[in-house]
């Protein structure tokens, strides 16, 4: 478990409505500091600028899908230590297993329960190695 609590979350999601719901859930209920990015191509810059503890990543996005972006982050020395959690509607058993295999910190399925999302992320954070 990391020594410090989970505070800063970067959420990558192209759907504006879902961005709004997730932001409300994470800020109002989870009391996190949240940055939302809609364009997957801007994620690396956003990470470097915002400095998140954890990235919450959608799977299907225009321009670049979640797994491809995840591989890019893993390959980048500046971003590879930041844990990534997938929040996806395309959550079949083998696909989730593949993400875990790639090194994802966790997977959560859409539709998510906004009342429970902060606690689910804290549980994943708590399970991470120091």
């Amino acid at each position: 478990m990391p020594a410090r609590p989970l505070q800063r979350i970067l959420y990558v999601e192209d759907e504006e409505d879902i961005q709004r719901i997730a932001r409300l859930s994470l800020e109002r209920i989870g009391k996190f500091t949240v940055e939302v990015v809609g364009d997957p191509l801007r994620v690396t810059d956003a990470i470097l600028a915002f400095g998140p503890d954890l990235v919450l990543l959608d799977w299907m996005m225009p321009g670049m899908d979640g797994p491809t972006l995840f591989r890019q982050l893993q390959a980048d020395e500046r971003t590879k230590r930041i844990p990534v959690v997938f929040l996806t509607a395309k959550a079949s058993g083998p696909e989730l297993a593949e993400l875990k295999q790639l090194g994802a910190a966790g997977t959560l399925s859409k539709p998510f329960a906004p009342m429970e999302l902060p606690e689910q992320l804290r549980a994943i954070w708590a399970a991470l190695p120091e």
Binding site: E15, D17, I18, R20, I21, A22, L24, S25, R28, I29, M60, A89, K90, S92, G93, P94, A97, K110, P111, F112, A113, P114, M115
Partner: protein, 600 residues
């Protein structure tokens, strides 16, 4: 010469014939029959010659003796005639042949004695010319007896002996040197005659044996012919059946919508049906003799070679073999083939029957279905995520408290959005299960922990219907090899069904019992039960009982179908029972990984 040659030939046949199993009693009966057949002629001859002799000799001083002798001839002949008539009327001629032969022998002896008496009494008393007459008559009687008694040489010997012995005696004692010499010739004549009778006897016997052997062979031959005819008839029937089957098979192949090709062991086409013509766009004349490989897209011919080799190595039929084939118009199609090698008794593959159909459109449809499923999954869940999320945030109160009416409406909206999500999830699940794309992640699970977790997860749902979930006693500490998420899904389905149909304030009990190597998990409610008419189809897709209550409670009608398939994928079985005291019990059995005793 001819006579002897014929006899020798007959004897040779008889010896050859000895190997044939002939019943001697039947041969004897035939000989007796032959002797009796000659008897009327013999009697007639005796009477005729007797009358002539009596007439000729009655002029002398022995007229009374001649008359007496004539009466004797008449008496003997009458007795023999009576014997003949009795024989003819007898029903036991064959079985009593020996007895009839003895009677005939007595008759022959009497007949011989008749002529012997004539020799002994009349010869010395007659003048020279009558002696010549008598000598001629006696030798004639001896010679004439040969054909009469040839079927039994001892009978002839008796008969002729009755003549020769007194005649020889009379000649020898006559005192005339010429007669003395003739007296020497009579026994010699007798011996030759008996020898001839003996030879004829043998010829007759051989003939009869041959006749019986022939009759037996003819009977056997007739029996063989009958059997042959029967077998020929059976063969005809079998051939007719084979022809009918052949016609039927040919008809099947002709009318079949499946392409059927017969290939030789080198992969060359021997015959095709109309469906194959349609499939490839070739006339039979273009395809017969061509290589099947030519109908495969060039880039996929290596696959064809591999499959063809495998077919000849295993000599077993292969089904669902996909092959990229090429039509005459150059269009590539994907076909699914069932290939059957025809193997002869020596184990050689003599032909291959290939049955195939074009599945190109099916594959395209499958791909479309897959894309549709993916779209359904993403495009429907995405707006639902927003709808449900927004409603849950509103209903939780974190955004402030709306008025009571608004709260009621947003609660209705959230509940129905959840139903829509459940429906989408169920449809996706059943589609994945039925297309074989659902893979389970099975692991040993402590059943009691999973059951407790299921109760916790569904507590909120139960609260909505005012129903409490409770474990019945302590579940056994047993492990099952199951997919945790899917096992919880089964429990959630059964618990939510039970909650929906239970009376408010009721308790739904969950039990787990080990029976043999299996564990039975039961969910017991006090609801109205399952209508009898619905029970047989309640585990089918989109099955819902027709009742106002069901419509009111909602549901997709897929929940139990999904449960059934998931349980079966985990090597279990699902069922229903009426609960004692009212209500229903839905249960499923899973194999216990380890017996509870070991775990405890």
């Amino acid at each position: 010469m001819n006579h002897f040659a014929a006899s020798a030939s007959a004897l040779r046949v008889a010896r050859t014939d000895d190997r044939v199993d002939v019943n001697p009693r039947e041969v004897l009966a035939d000989r007796v029959e032959q002797l009796y057949a000659q008897l009327p002629l013999g009697i007639a001859g005796t009477v005729l010659v007797g009358v002539i002799a009596a007439t000729e000799l009655s002029g002398g001083r022995y007229a009374e003796i001649v008359a007496g002798w004539g009466a004797f001839v008449f008496f003997v002949s009458a007795a023999r005639l009576a014997l003949y008539l009795k024989y003819r009327r007898s029903a036991n001629r064959a079985t009593e042949a020996e007895q009839w032969l003895r009677w005939l022998g007595i008759g022959a002896l009497a007949n011989g004695a008749l002529w012997g008496f004539a020799a002994a009494v009349f010869f010395p008393s007659q003048a020279d010319e009558h002696q010549v007459f008598l000598a001629l008559l006696l030798t004639g009687a001896m010679s004439g007896g040969i054909p009469m008694y040839a079927a039994s040489w001892p009978m002839y010997a008796t008969y002729a002996g009755g003549i020769a012995a007194p005649f020889t005696y009379v000649l020898a004692n006559f005192g005339n040197p010429l007669f003395s010499e003739i007296a020497l010739l009579v026994p010699a004549f007798y011996a030759v005659s008996v020898a001839i009778a003996w030879r004829l006897n043998q010829v007759f016997s051989s003939g009869y044996r041959l006749r019986h052997a022939y009759q037996r062979l003819a009977a056997e031959n007739a029996e063989l012919n009958r059997r042959l005819q029967r077998q020929l008839a059976e063969l005809d029937d079998a051939r007719a059946q084979v022809e009918a089957s052949g016609r039927k098979l040919a008809l099947f192949a002709q009318r079949s919508p499946i392409a059927v090709l017969e290939l030789d062991p080198h992969g060359r086409i021997r015959e095709i049906n109309p469906a194959a013509e349609l499939l490839f766009g070739y006339a039979p004349a273009d395809l017969v003799g061509a290589e099947m490989k030519a109908l495969v897209v060039p880039e996929h011919r290596t696959e064809f070679d591999v499959q063809w080799r495998q077919l000849f190595e295993t000599r077993e039929p292969m089904s669902r073999q996909r092959l990229h084939n090429l039509r005459r118009d150059g269009i590539g199609i994907v076909c699914e083939w069932t290939v059957t090698p025809l193997v002869n008794p020596a184990g050689d593959t003599v032909a291959v029957i290939a049955q195939g159909r074009d599945i190109t459109q099916e594959l395209e449809a499958e791909q479309m279905k897959k894309e549709f499923t993916s779209t359904l999954s993403h495009e429907l869940r995405t707006p639902l995520t927003s709808i449900l999320g927004a409603l849950q945030l509103v209903n939780s109160g974190v955004m402030g408290h709306p008025g009571k009416d608004i709260q009621e409406l947003t609660t209705v909206a959230e509940r129905n959005a959840q139903r829509l999500l459940d429906l989408i999830n169920d449809i996706l699940d059943i589609e994945k299960i039925e297309s074989g794309k659902l893979t389970l992640v099975r692991e040993p699970l402590a059943l009691d922990e999973v059951l407790r977790e299921a109760l916790v997860l569904n507590r909120a749902f139960g609260d909505r219907y005012g129903v409490r979930f409770a474990l019945r006693g302590d579940p056994p500490r047993v492990e099952v090899n199951a997919d945790r998420k899917r096992l919880l899904q089964v429990m959630t389905n059964l618990l939510s069904n039970a909650a929906k149909f239970s009376p408010e304030g009721g308790t739904v009990e969950v039990s787990a019992d080990c029976v043999g190597g299996r564990v039975r998990i039961g969910v017991h409610d006090r609801g109205p039960g399952v209508p009898e008419s619905f029970r047989s189809r309640m585990f089918s897709r989109f099955a819902q009982a027709e009742s106002a209550l069901t419509r009111q409670k909602g549901g997709t009608g897929l929940g139990l179908a999904i449960c059934k398939r998931l349980v079966e994928m985990m090597d279990g079985s699902i069922g229903f029972a009426e609960r004692e005291g009212g209500g229903s019990t839905f249960y499923f059995d899973l194999p216990a990984l380890r017996p509870p005793a070991v775990l405890s």
